[in-house]
């Protein structure tokens, strides 16, 4: 029985895999996406949908800026607006120490040559976030940021790549990878697929795939907890965070409140299970009711957690493999890969088609972990 052949195999049908498939297909490449479950089953489908440049690690700012531009015309890319709303993102200073911290951040970003993050005073902050407790003094504001609907985004990317002729192999994961004379052989259940080029977009499982070709990458699995409330009357537009406490907060167009903040639940990567921790739900509820006291009687309808791969420096791996030039990695997005996804695909397509990218990728190279050891 001869193995099925494809030019490029992408392992993982999360947003990074789908976006990579999209850009490669647009550049005329034959692509097969291998997804163990269904597209968006994990982080990409269950995240908070935050489209945020605000507060990014300096290394990520160039990518986030490029991605932001793509979000503002996301319909051109995937024929759907993905529920993207440029409502802005706001980090609230709850006291003067917070404000000093945010001011230092704003200065640092400005010194790097960017002007997307600006300090706003108490009055401006209150106008953006009505109902915030009286002690809050100001904030750091990023207009043009916002949020999108994760599931809808996944569907839009999925539909678009199908339209572009990308093939899918759903329901079984890659269990082994072997080097062949001209490329790679991937084992998927009982079947084999051969491919000239392989791209590892396996999210929290990315280091398992890397290990299959002998590349060791430290990666932790986190279960990030989210809560959503019943519908409540509209009162706020921007996505809000806090300068020194864990919170990510927004009101959806339906009126539900979406509450996150990277509180950790229980993760079982092998079983594909993530569960919220009730204690963290309580901490999260306490934070929300302290920041927005008028919300105390709003009821939580559902909490969930999503699995995410976290690197030691909390930066993703976007890199050719160090063992072989026809193998590439894009995983470990460390809780903020949703916003980056449109540009990650473009970068991967450039790496493969042009051998280089015009964005600075040095901080994301896979070698950095072994470098550190030396």
């Amino acid at each position: 029985m001869s193995a099925r052949h494809t030019e490029i195999a992408i392992i993982g049908g999360g947003l990074q895999g789908l976006s990579t498939a999209l850009h490669l297909a647009q550049r005329g490449r034959r692509v097969l996406v291998i997804e163990a479950h269904h597209p968006g089953r994990f982080a990409s489908g269950v995240n908070a949908g935050g489209v945020r440049r605000l507060g990014r690690d300096p290394a990520e700012i160039p990518l986030a800026m490029a991605a932001s531009e793509m979000w503002h015309s996301i319909e051109d890319l995937v024929d759907d607006d993905c529920g993207f709303r440029a409502v802005g993102q706001l980090k609230i200073a709850e006291d003067d120490d917070d404000l000093r911290k945010l001011e230092a951040r704003a200065t640092m970003v400005r010194d790097l040559g960017y002007d997307h993050e600006e300090i706003i005073d108490q009055k401006q902050m209150r106008a953006l976030a009505p109902g915030v407790h009286a002690r809050a003094v100001g904030g750091l504001w990023c207009a043009g940021d916002g949020s999108a609907d994760p599931m809808r985004t996944v569907q839009a990317f999925y539909r678009k790549v199908q339209k572009l002729g990308v093939d899918f192999n759903l329901g079984h994961g890659v269990s082994a990878i072997a080097r062949t004379g001209t490329g790679w052989q991937l084992s998927i259940g009982d079947a084999q697929i051969t491919s000239d080029i392989v791209i590892n977009c396996a999210g929290a499982w990315g280091n398992k795939i890397a290990a299959m070709i002998g590349e060791e990458v430290p990666l932790e699995t986190h279960a990030l907890t989210m809560m959503v409330s019943e519908r409540t009357p509209h009162f706020i537009d921007p996505v809000c965070g806090l300068a020194s406490r864990k919170l990510s907060f927004k009101q959806t167009p339906e009126g539900t409140l979406l509450i996150g903040g990277a509180h950790l639940g229980y993760a079982d990567r092998d079983a594909g299970v993530a569960e919220p921790d009730p204690i963290k739900m309580a901490i999260s509820a306490k934070t929300v009711t302290e920041v927005f006291p008028h919300l105390t009687n709003v009821r939580i309808a559902r909490a969930w957690a999503g699995l995410e791969g976290m690197t030691p420096d909390r930066l993703p791996i976007i890199s050719p493999s160090k063992v072989d030039g026809s193998f590439f990695h894009a995983f470990g997005f460390s809780a903020h890969g949703f916003q980056l996804s449109p540009v990650v695909g473009r970068i991967m397509a450039s790496l493969i088609c042009d051998g280089t990218s015009n964005l600075p990728l040095h901080p994301f190279r896979i070698e950095r972990f072994s470098d550190d050891k030396n």
């Binding site: 809808r152 996944v154 569907q155 019943e230 299970v273 009730p278 306490k286 559902r302």
Partner: protein
């Protein structure tokens, strides 16, 4: 460290939970019994102690089965059990930590074993117009009667099938309601399918006799019991005004209150949330968690008793409760397997006797197709007002199962987490994809099992340990 720790937490103070709690306590285990109701009794014996105390005459109209519940409640009162009434369980962790709230403050109780006895819920009956004011389930009307002595004003129509339909009609009639019609979905074919199970039901013939007596009593009072195999639609724009029978001789019955009843199904939100193994009941079209005769589940520290593990009725539920109490007592090391098996004998016999009627009932009162897979225009998800047609369309667009629906629709994403639409969604998607419900699967259920206010959550003590 935890707020409270005990050997066993029992969830639900119906016949199964009360009996499980008493049995486990009698075997020397420390037991906490939690129920969201303010008094013990569960569905069938709801408020029985208070009714006996404050309006004893109503015991007669509610019937001897109801009055019998008073005995278990007395046993519960006499036993050394911590009872938390008015506490809703909103999450069960696999390690046996049970998270609940009294409506003002959430808390957790850590137990070596959990016995879930959270009973059944009525099967939602999505027919055209079922979301209009004036329409409710027969069980909801019964709850009002039991706990608040409330009887609907104005004309009443009932629709559906099964023992509870006739029971509620009869209880309401005795309480003075103006019942205009009982419309039944049962068909001649259902009788044929049920006939082979008649012999097996003889040990439980008292239930058969009761059903015949209810029917006779209703008819004697002049209540028409008619056949409505093709379904009904509910008339009215602002609120329900009548029940229209679909069919050649379709009539409309004037009614301000319309009560729907199409049997009860296990309340599986908590068992799904715990990711226990479940199976699909083909005749009655519901999920149930798989258990052994002691209620042991696929998780070693979690047991289930009563209608939550499959619909067998109150007497069987009480017996199953005793069996689960014994099962836990053995698992906890308090009694030997031989002692457990010995003590179990009478309860196994009781369960068998009470359950003997089920195959007959299951086949006589199957949920009809027009309720399982409603027509396109009928709403199935009440929280988000989503129709059966929208679910079909999403299936066609590629949603393989309930959990992928949310990429297309908000079905199941409202506050009830699919408690209302879950079975309809499974059934519709199974048909759309030509698969079995077991292949399609169920909604993933997440905490909280019932909505919980931010204030309640925020009030939870920090020192509760992370399990």
């Amino acid at each position: 460290m935890s707020e409270q720790a005990c050997d066993v937490v029992v969830i639900g103070a119906g016949p199964a939970g009360m009996r499980a709690a008493v049995t486990a306590a009698n075997e020397g285990l420390s037991v906490t019994l939690i129920d969201e109701q303010t008094e013990a009794g569960g569905q069938i014996y709801r408020a029985v102690a208070r009714v006996a105390r404050t309006r004893p005459a109503d015991l007669t109209l509610l019937g001897p089965e109801y009055a019998a519940g008073g005995d278990i409640v007395l046993e519960l009162d006499a036993a050394d059990i911590t009872v938390l009434h008015g506490h809703t369980v909103w999450q069960i962790s696999q390690d046996g930590t049970v998270w609940c709230s009294d409506g003002t403050k959430a808390k957790s109780i850590t137990a070596r074993f959990v016995i879930m006895a959270s009973g059944a819920q009525e099967r939602p009956v999505p027919v055209p117009g079922w979301t209009l004011p004036g329409v409710m389930t027969a069980g909801a009307a019964q709850i009002l009667l039991k706990s608040a002595a409330m009887v609907p004003d104005g004309p009443v129509a009932l629709y559906g099938s099964g023992p509870l339909l006739l029971l509620v009609a009869d209880q309401l009639l005795s309480a003075g309601a103006d019942i205009r019609v009982v419309a039944e979905t049962t068909t001649f074919k259902d009788y044929l399918n049920a006939a082979p199970h008649l012999l097996g039901a003889l040990p439980a013939s008292k239930y058969l006799k009761k059903g015949i007596a209810l029917r006779r009593h209703l008819k004697a009072a002049g209540v028409p019991i008619i056949k409505a195999p093709n379904g009904v639609s509910i008339e009215g724009t602002e609120r329900a005004t009548g029940l229209r029978i679909i069919g050649k001789h379709g009539q409309t019955f004037e009614a301000e209150t319309i009560l729907l009843q199409q049997g009860v199904v296990p309340n599986t939100q908590a068992s799904w949330q715990l990711r226990l193994d479940h199976a699909w009941h083909a005749a009655q079209h519901y999920w149930y968690p798989t258990t052994d005769r002691f209620g042991a589940t696929s998780l070693a520290n979690v047991f289930i008793a009563g209608d939550g593990a499959g619909i067998f009725g109150a007497e069987a539920a009480a017996a199953a409760g005793a069996l689960a109490g014994l099962g836990v007592a053995h698992a906890a090391g308090n009694i030997s397997a031989a002692a457990r098996d010995q003590k179990a004998l009478p309860f196994i016999a009781l369960h068998k006797k009470a359950a003997a009627i089920r195959p007959l009932l299951d086949h006589l009162f199957p949920p009809p197709a027009h309720i399982l897979v409603p027509d396109d225009a009928t709403i199935i998800c009440r929280c988000e007002e989503i129709t059966a047609g929208q679910v079909r369309d999403a299936a066609k667009l590629g949603a393989p199962g309930p959990n992928q629906l949310k990429a297309f629709l908000r079905a199941g994403m409202g506050p009830c987490q699919g408690r209302m639409c879950g079975l309809s969604v499974v059934e519709i998607m199974a048909r759309a994809h030509g698969k079995s419900p077991a292949e399609i699967g169920a909604y993933r259920i997440r905490p909280p099992l019932k909505p919980l206010s931010l204030a309640e959550l925020a009030a939870m003590d920090d020192d509760t340990p992370t399990p």
